[in-house]
Symmetry: C2
Subunit: 192 residues, 2 copies
């Protein structure tokens, strides 16, 4: 998605450790009109997959997932929660995730009520690097015997291993923008 | 908002401790069409306030805030983060919050980049009980010298003190549904 690449170049900030901050429009302040365009681009790429549910993870995935849902006929969005919650009850699927960014382990959790074998799930997240959060959400779907019909990512760090592994495993992964490299604070995208 | 009251009676579950679970449509699984109607109701109540920014808090407030924004001409949404994040930088406003539900303390955090004295802020959250998260977000606005033009809540627990205190302090607080009491698992709403 060309507009997303341009927006990353315009508003993204590169921090040490190949961190790209896009918190002016994507994951702290939210540019709702722009995120809606991203949602439409996601719809264009997965509209033939008969999506019945969108799964994402708190907190940064929620806005994109909700706006994408409006193009998919308002299919329900379920957001996985992080860590144990005293409020969620005992009836849930859970999978361990390691965050390299925050250097800590947590669990992703979804209530069994909201993911089932009837579901054709599109998983949406804002970033894909090593793919930890994504594989955690995929495990939740597998535990529910739900069908994973697509993996949608806003920004993939193509120089990390997550995307390569998922494509080699045969998953229908689409990233709106793929960062090929970051050198001397210069971002280069993979042509798509 | 009558439809919200009806939906709470239909799909809400009352748990011990006067907890009302609405995770089938509001804060785990998201009924996007319904949340959009709630966003429209919020617009109807605050449309004259010249809102320039919506502030909410991760994670449950994000969906409502984003869908409300679509009625307010896509004004930017900023979601406050909970706890210290290694990724947010040092340039932020912060306020302490005590969660009675989870019985723990945390900080709400907003980058100074995204809240300023130019802003006329509508604060949106899913629940209001003792008002801890709300007053935390109000403190962030005060630190930024932003103008708080309204406080919008989906579900207020009217038998707890948050709403009363905020109204007595003169804030423009509007709750789409106010639970007056929960007795023997029966929910009664305050007439509005």
């Amino acid at each position: 998605m060309k507009e997303l690449e341009q927006r990353i170049l315009l508003d993204g900030r590169v921090l040490p450790g190949e961190v790209v901050k896009v918190d002016s429009f994507l994951n702290h302040q939210l540019d709702v009109a722009f995120l809606s365009k991203m949602g439409q681009a996601i719809y264009d790429r997965f509209k033939d997959q008969h999506v019945t549910k969108i799964l994402t993870i708190e907190a940064s995935g929620i806005a994109i997932a909700v706006l994408a849902s409006t193009y998919f006929g308002n299919v329900p969005v379920v957001f996985a929660k992080k860590g144990a919650s005293s409020n969620i009850g005992t009836d849930f699927y859970t999978a361990p995730v390691h965050s390299y960014t925050k250097n800590k382990d947590y669990n992703v959790i979804v209530s069994k009520r909201y993911l089932s074998e009837e579901d054709r799930v599109l998983i949406i997240d804002d970033f894909l690097a090593e793919g930890q959060a994504m594989t955690g959400m995929m495990s939740l779907c597998d535990q529910a015997n739900a069908t994973i019909v697509g993996l949608s990512v806003a920004i993939e760090k193509g120089f990390q291993s997550g995307g390569k592994k998922l494509r080699e495993a045969g998953y229908n992964l689409d990233s709106l923008a793929i960062i090929e490299s970051i050198e001397d604070e210069v971002i280069t995208f993979r042509p798509q």
